[in-house]
Symmetry: C3
Subunit: 269 residues, 3 copies
């Protein structure tokens, strides 16, 4: 397998400890010239769902890379560590669904192995820091050109744990979706893919009634924030090309009381 251009790294380790730096150090020892790009290390602790969404938002924008992600509340249990080939990339982390959205987006898993080749791991008496001891040393070797098969035993891709994909349905002229994630600006991403919006009657220049939790707001469906006045709500296709709700210059999630999982109905006016 050819060498990869870079390794990306996403975790819930936080930035106040040595965890992230230690993993960079381990990779540097194995592949001294490898570029390591941090996606984020501020995934809320143990929030596999949020980690999966953020990873999937990032990975399409990278050249062929090894993507290491660790949000792993089950570290030290029987859950597998895996390396999965999808598109031109490799995804490495716990087999708990964290990788699944990004893998689906890259075209689906082509091959996978369980990380059982302990000869590649860092020697350690500890059993709770798999990012440092297993995922990063294996990933650095794969980035450096080691064949996938050397990382461990092949497994059927159908056995990989997947998160339920965000769903929506159209009924009675309305889109029934839910909040998938909220970004740091408070913008609220819904489970309706942008390319499916026109078929549901959601196109720039129209208005849409957004209903949730017994509340409703009618807002324009726009192309850019600049089309509405500051403080006004809007509906649009966001940077990841999902339909989203925002407030111009404001925190939509906070102002409107929308949270991950909130059911939302969109009715074109």
């Amino acid at each position: 397998m050819a060498r990869f251009h870079c390794l990306t790294f996403l975790t819930d380790y936080g930035l106040g400890d040595a965890f992230v730096g230690v993993c960079h150090g381990v990779a540097s020892q194995i592949a001294p010239d490898l570029r390591i790009v941090d996606i984020t290390h501020l995934i809320p602790r143990g929030d596999i769902h949020r980690g999966a969404m953020v990873l999937a938002q990032a990975t399409p924008y990278f050249p062929p890379a090894v993507h290491v992600a660790v949000v792993d509340p089950g570290v030290g249990t029987a859950r597998r560590g895996v390396a999965v080939q999808a598109g031109g990339a490799l995804f490495i982390g716990p087999d708990n669904g964290l990788l699944s959205v990004a893998i689906a987006q890259a075209g689906g898993a082509a091959r996978a192995v369980s990380l059982t080749n302990a000869a590649l791991w860092l020697e350690s008496s500890a059993a709770t820091f798999h990012g440092r001891d297993i995922f990063m040393p294996v990933a650095a070797r794969l980035a450096d050109g080691m064949p996938l098969a050397e990382a461990g035993e092949p497994i059927a891709v159908a056995t990989l744990v997947t998160l339920p994909r965000p769903e929506y349905r159209i009924a009675d002229g309305a889109v029934h979706a839910e909040v998938v994630t909220v970004d740091g600006f408070g913008n609220v991403q819904l489970s309706l893919p942008g390319p499916n919006a026109p078929g549901a009657g959601l196109v720039p220049g129209t208005r849409v009634a957004v209903a949730w939790d017994g509340r409703e707001a009618v807002m324009p469906f726009v192309t850019t924030f600049g089309e509405v006045a500051p403080g006004e709500p809007l509906c649009y296709r966001d940077g990841g090309d999902w339909v989203a709700v925002a407030v111009a210059g404001g925190d939509a999630a906070g102002l409107l009381g929308l949270r991950t999982g909130t059911p939302v109905t969109l009715t074109p006016q």
Copy 2:
């Protein structure tokens, strides 16, 4: 135009989403060997003034670089995206004043273009993530040696938006200044340049009466924090060579109630 050594990156994107990593990925695809240095991504959301000050504090310490900065509450409005040559560096971002303090410090804008060459942009149906779709792909190409003229139409440098430069005046034997910015330690930077301090009677070894909001404190004007006892206030020339007020081992802004924009009068004793 020769290739640049590195690209710096400053935003208000925060560190909890994929935004910053995505922009690194986009640049990596265009210029695989380019070094990217993050200055900060924790500028308060939409705070152009603070972004401009932090950018100007950082850029003088880099080798010839492409500096990308995005604090852009007007994304999607008519505001231009620009690339500006100043000194040996290029500055890229929204034309909203964010770049202006750093550009002035680098000797003033020599040439500028409006980023109108859409052939360089990332294809996207979204219109709200110019950092990823416009600024970063254009900047990476410029860092890689693309001539500035290819980025878009030339514009007169006099039309670039500039922030009012921090001002001060001397009257009745006192300096009338204001708080320009507060750093993470709580140190309070005033609008009096360090090199102008001696002319105003502010030199190490003297004392100065600092007055604000109807309050006053007399403190030593020192060279280093070590000259006062912990907990004591002091006046000094800070790391960016502006006159500043601090509390040794403490948070001056919080303890003294000083905020950005607070008028401050300094009277040498």
Copy 3:
């Protein structure tokens, strides 16, 4: 002295200002191809003890490197700046104990200099930003191959400031230790090295009574978190191979009221 593979950087500068980026810029000017790895910049302001522990957790995982650390409440006082050779690495920062735990772990100081060669420093009228003006320019030159002796006057390694090493004692069949540090997950590291645990009767598969502040909890001594139910406390050898107390899926420090310095007694059951 040969060139080093990389330079690591740990401070209490925070991530909201330009401080960290500026230091990267300074190093880039001197050693354009040097890899710089940030360990963390979120050490609590001025907390030398916490900085020393985090630095010591990270440095063993790097290839031969120059380690720059700055937690420096005494900047501008008479405290020395030092460069210390230990193992295959160099440690650079204030001589206030910050470097001492990592140096001891690397095998102890072999040689040291006081950073008195002002010709290497950045010219600056400020005296409060030694990371930028002294430590980073000197470190970048050392990473680039400059002999240690050129950085300043040799000093006796016995004169270097050291922090008291965490201690424990065994008496009456119990281990008397203390809390050394708490990580971002709330896991509580004690002052008992993992390799010394078996000798004190602490081995996987046994139970241990943990007593502190007049409270006591009996918990299993395990190898991995997966051996206990979520919410249950456990005792284990952590990623740095110290004996530690955690709560599976929870914040042990918060839940149990354990803080740095709390005396803890471990009695095997």
